[in-house]
């Protein structure tokens, strides 16, 4: 894998994480339990769409093959997406989507922080823009996790179950492959081991404040970064891409 190929692959992973999480959040539009949360969800999803657009546009420029941001989003097949498995998990109930969002954003904030010091200037600039948004999301989402965990018996039990269920998808975030190594070594990109330690520290703090139990060490699912997705992913992609696949080039 050449240096340029590694950068394109890395930028697409970042973009896919942002787009697929946004798509999951968009599925929840008009389905949140209260108006304030409805607006928070839509606003946060919009941040991710914006980040995905900047990243896809950059990947398109690097690739130089005439593809557009929309081609990356709507014209690639499921196995070409490189988002984490955690992100594509179904929305479930309110607590499930809060836990999924928290576990990912607690990682993403450290990933972006490291990327603000990346030697690729464009990646560093996008990261500097995005991290302000992600810090804001995290404050909001971690309050919810604490409120649910330290809330009623029912909310405590259900959010503990969400945490236990989603935990096995967190290991993949910290497994380096050749793309991660290339970005780290050539461009001073994130060191995933260091990020794992920061993530664990933050997550333990919030889980303790939420009076929840940290799940035990266990077998971890992986494959998203290599394009091997869970069974839920095909449905997500089909819904997201339907319009552009059926009416290519349709616009507002």
């Amino acid at each position: 894998m050449s240096r340029d190929e590694a950068v394109i692959a890395y930028v697409l992973r970042l973009a896919d994480n942002a787009l697929i999480l946004a798509q999951r959040m968009i599925e929840l539009v008009t389905a949140k339990p209260e108006l304030e949360e409805e607006l928070a969800n839509a606003n946060f999803a919009l941040d991710f769409i914006g980040q995905a657009r900047m990243l896809y546009s950059y990947a398109a420029e690097l690739e130089g093959a005439g593809r557009s941001e929309d081609d990356f989003a709507f014209m690639r097949d499921g196995n070409e997406f490189r988002n984490l498995l955690l992100i594509e998990q179904p929305n479930g109930h309110f607590g499930d989507s809060i836990v999924r969002q928290y576990l990912f954003e607690a990682f993403y904030v450290h990933q972006l922080d490291a990327l603000t010091r990346c030697k690729d200037q464009r990646i560093a600039e996008i990261a500097a823009r995005a991290i302000k948004e992600v810090r804001y999301h995290l404050r909001h989402i971690s309050h919810w996790l604490i409120r649910l965990g330290d809330g009623t018996d029912e909310s405590h039990q259900r959010v503990q179950a969400s945490l236990d269920e989603l935990w096995r998808f967190t290991g993949e975030m910290f497994v380096s492959d050749e793309v991660d190594v290339a970005i780290r070594d050539n461009l001073a990109g994130p060191d995933l081991e260091a990020i794992a330690a920061l993530w664990k520290r933050d997550v333990e703090d919030v889980i303790a404040e939420a009076t929840l139990q940290l799940p035990e060490d266990q077998w971890m699912a992986r494959g998203g970064k290599q394009g091997q997705h869970s069974e839920h992913f095909g449905f997500l992609i089909a819904e997201m891409q339907f319009l552009q696949r059926s009416y290519a080039g349709a616009s507002w």
Binding site: N43, E125, A128
Partner: protein
């Protein structure tokens, strides 16, 4: 076409409104990063936040405004770094926001003043409001609800 000065272009841009809060010009909002004139005109703009739906509307308004003044070669440059913050809203912009009924972003850790009666006896109703950059507040003295431009 006669050569146009940077000052002239800035003057024109002062008439381009922010589509979400039209009482503010894009200069008040602090998103015009640079203007250069050599042959054509290049305007460097920065997005307020990544997913701001106004970004493209603003770019086309700038193009339209300059075309109307007879500028033929116009380029819009998107600048990401350093990222925009609410500190870049000008003093004139903050005053316009207040008059419009939107409390401007807090400086330091000061309390949020009601834009109607200036009371500091205010409370937040919802952290999220009609657009991504605003929250919903209420004055506990005059009882008017108002919007607050969040500090970013």
């Amino acid at each position: 076409m006669a050569a146009v000065s940077r000052e002239q272009v800035y003057e024109w841009l002062a008439d381009v409104p922010d589509p979400e809060i039209p009482v503010l010009s894009i200069l008040d909002l602090g998103i015009v990063r640079d203007v250069s004139v050599n042959g054509g005109v290049t305007v460097s703009l920065t997005p307020t936040y990544s997913g701001c739906p106004a970004t493209e509307v603003i770019e086309s308004s700038v193009l339209a405004a300059l075309e109307k003044k007879g500028i033929e070669s116009i380029a819009i440059k998107r600048v990401l770094s350093p990222p925009w913050t609410t500190d870049w809203i000008s003093d004139a912009g903050r005053e316009k926001l207040r008059e419009y009924g939107i409390a401007p972003p807090a400086r330091a850790s000061r309390a949020i003043a009601c834009p109607q009666c200036e009371s500091l006896h205010t409370e937040r109703i919802s952290e999220f409001g009609s657009t991504a950059c605003k929250a919903a507040w209420r004055c506990r003295d005059c009882l008017e609800p108002f919007e607050y431009f969040k500090c970013l």
